[in-house]
């Protein structure tokens, strides 16, 4: 027997199951050092964001949304037309600029251009009341997006408060609160939205006269109210379900054993743990609110007359569909882009943050 040499690999017998050490090589110093550096602490949020940015669809929809947002903020500053006023040339109303096709000019404008003046092009053409269509679509997108955001915000606040109280209190409180939710859930929502927006419009219209809120328009406010009154129930159910699951974790019991008050337990332990689900469902709520707003405007219950919204623009375009089809295309594409982007972003958020879908 030769003496054992730790640096020399033993000979491997043909049928033995012993590992063939000759196939291994010692780790280099660099590799050893790599193992010693401890992994940087990563938070749940950062990890989720990293996953989100790896998702091409989510990134694409974020880019589209940013482009739309920048456009609707910047465009009214550059384009010299207003959404409610007729096109004017040298201070005179241009009655010839009716139903122009994109990038064409009316007779009066053509004359002005010929005499050496500069006229801003009508990117989307004009409508039948001689208003620039591009700026109307931009304002329409503004209205639709803000309705989407604020409605979701209202839904989020009401649903979060209601759901967390019901979920945390439990027992009889929960039972009563959730039966109320069931009742609201069982109402036909389209019908209720139409009824409420008709009723609220009149009620709010009188009480708001002269206040700062009047400038927003009673239609818009009544739309927020409708969303707030009807659509929070889904959020409340979701939050309650989340809280019921999280409440049974031992860390909540541990917090109680420490003497933490219920408000602290909800704030520090329960809400942070259901935040991802709430954010995702809010992101998915925005397109549905935009869609409902467009639908309401389409049937004439949305925002008030001179103020455009993507839905009301589409409705107006419908009447002259055969003569000027592009007028329907622009707002319709606008709605599609916004809704699709939010849906894809919401899906991406869910994939990145939902613990059940994580690999």
């Amino acid at each position: 027997m030769s003496e054992f040499d730790p640096n020399k690999a033993p000979v491997k017998r043909p049928f033995s199951l012993q590992l063939d050490l000759s196939k291994f090589e010692p780790a280099t110093d660099a590799e050893k050092a790599q193992h010693e550096t401890t992994r940087e602490s990563t938070t749940f949020f950062r990890d989720g964001m990293r996953k989100l940015f790896k998702n091409p669809l989510a990134v694409g929809s974020m880019i589209v949304l940013v482009v739309i947002l920048v456009t609707i903020i910047v465009a009214p500053m550059i384009v010299p037309y207003t959404y409610s006023g007729m096109i004017t040339v040298n201070g005179k109303r241009d009655k010839t600029a009716k139903n122009l096709a994109p990038f064409t000019y009316s007779k009066m404008e053509q004359e002005a251009i010929d005499s050496g003046e500069k006229v801003f092009p009508h990117i989307f053409g004009t409508d039948e009341l001689c208003r620039d269509y591009f700026i109307r679509v931009i304002y329409g997108a503004r209205v639709s997006l803000s309705v989407g955001f604020f409605a979701s915000l209202i839904v989020l606040i009401i649903g979060l408060l209601y759901g967390s109280i019901a979920g945390y209190a439990g027992g009889r409180t929960d039972l009563v609160m959730m039966r109320i939710v069931d009742v609201i859930y069982s109402l036909p929502d389209t019908l209720m939205v139409i009824l409420l927006s008709v009723v609220l419009d009149q009620v709010l219209g009188q009480s708001l006269q002269g206040t700062a809120l009047a400038s927003i328009g009673t239609n818009m406010l009544s739309m927020f109210a409708v969303f707030g009154l009807l659509y929070w129930v889904g959020m409340a159910r979701l939050v309650r379900g989340q809280i019921l699951t999280i409440k049974n974790n031992e860390y909540v019991l541990a917090a109680r054993a420490m003497g933490a008050k219920p408000s602290r337990i909800i704030r520090k332990h329960i809400l942070p743990n259901c935040m991802s689900v709430i954010i995702i469902s809010t992101a998915l709520q925005i397109p549905s609110a935009i869609f409902t707003e467009s639908f309401l405007s389409f049937i004439g219950l949305g925002v008030q007359a001179p103020m455009p919204s993507l839905g009301s623009l589409a409705n107006a375009a419908r009447q002259a569909l055969q003569a000027y089809p592009y007028k329907l295309v622009f707002p319709a594409v606008g709605i599609c882009l916004i809704v699709l982007s939010f849906n894809l972003l919401g899906d991406g958020l869910r994939d990145a943050f939902d613990p059940k879908l994580r690999k």
């Binding site: 938070t43 749940f44 019991l253 541990a254 109680r256 054993a257 420490m258 933490a260 942070p272």
Partner: protein
């Protein structure tokens, strides 16, 4: 007299849970049914019994995490009620069984350990808080640099230590250890058990040590209580219970301890119980253990035996032994 007063005095503690079965049929699950014991300052009482016998519920009801159905808990001579439990939160703490669900995944270690400090305002400035957290981490054998990490970055044993550090943060005088080692593997178990013992020697904390591993309990405790279906059937000093169990249930439980020495194990007589544990919803009349007891008589079916003193601090609830 105050020197002889027990730190924790539990008297006839009952915890019933309502259970619905069917539409109108309400039943009561007697998880804990009249449990009494005392724990002295700096002492460890082991609580053993099979799964589902109400050990954990005793620990949690004791701390008023569940509202007790009836019975009283005295801490240091003062009655603990729902109203004044806030005063006692600083003195009574709990370490949980599952190191995975007992730490909030969204909080860093320093937030987890710092939370009891925040709640009870136990520091004057940020620096003091950080120092205390580092001190606690060192106390339980963790690195103080771990404070900024999240709980999911640690192993089970390390997480359990974080849980212990959290319980220790308020300088408690009594800790309920709710199966603190059963979720860990054996090598880590030994470390954690030793940590508990060191802390007891250093800080003079009393423990209620709940476990189903009898060897761990024997190692840790001065006295042991054996539970069966929500009742304590035998209580006495650790060596008495392990070497000369009196109650037939304790006897079979003790005989199930695996012996490290095969020579001793060969001569040991293993008592194997027959039948299943009766459902706590349908408790047998009389002694709850009589359905599986070798010595059961008529008397056992008639009345439930109460704990009677057998000398040397031992109490047994059995008609026959």
């Amino acid at each position: 007299m105050s020197e002889n007063r027990p730190l924790v005095d539990v008297r006839d503690l009952k915890e019933y849970f309502p259970v619905k079965s069917g539409m109108l049929n309400k039943m009561v699950l007697k998880a804990v049914d009249g449990v009494s014991f005392t724990i002295d300052k700096g002492e460890t009482l082991g609580l053993v019994g099979e799964s589902g016998c109400g050990k954990t519920t005793v620990g949690r009801t004791l701390l008023h995490l569940y509202k007790p159905t009836s019975g009283e808990v005295y801490f240091d001579g003062k009655l603990v009620t729902d109203k004044n439990i806030g005063e006692f939160r600083k003195d009574m703490q709990i370490v949980f069984q599952d190191p995975y669900s007992s730490l909030n995944p969204r909080m860093t270690v320093s937030d987890i350990i710092g939370e009891p400090l925040d709640i009870h305002h136990l520091y004057h400035n940020k620096k003091e808080r950080a120092e205390r957290i580092a001190e606690l981490l060192t106390l339980v054998g963790l690195n103080s640099e771990h404070a900024t990490r999240y709980a999911h970055e640690f192993s089970g044993g390390q997480r359990q230590r974080i849980g212990i550090a959290r319980a220790l943060a308020v300088n408690p005088r009594f800790i309920v250890c709710d199966e603190p080692v059963s979720a860990l593997d054996v090598s880590i178990q030994a470390q954690i058990v030793n940590t508990f013992e060191e802390l007891q020697q250093k800080l003079g904390i009393a423990y209620l040590f709940i476990a189903h591993d009898l060897l761990v309990v024997q190692h840790m405790s001065r006295r042991i209580a054996v539970m069966y279906l929500g009742k304590i059937v035998e209580i006495g000093s650790a060596s008495d219970i392990i070497n000369h169990p009196v109650h037939p249930y304790s006897q079979s439980l003790i005989s199930a301890i695996p012996m490290p020495d095969p020579e001793t194990a060969r001569h040991k007589h293993r008592i194997i119980l027959e039948g299943d544990v009766p459902s706590p919803l349908r408790m047998p009349k009389g002694c709850p253990f009589r359905t599986r007891c070798r010595f059961a008589t008529e008397q056992c079916a008639q009345s439930c035996p109460s704990l009677t003193d057998r000398g040397n601090g031992r109490q047994v609830a059995c008609h026959n032994m």
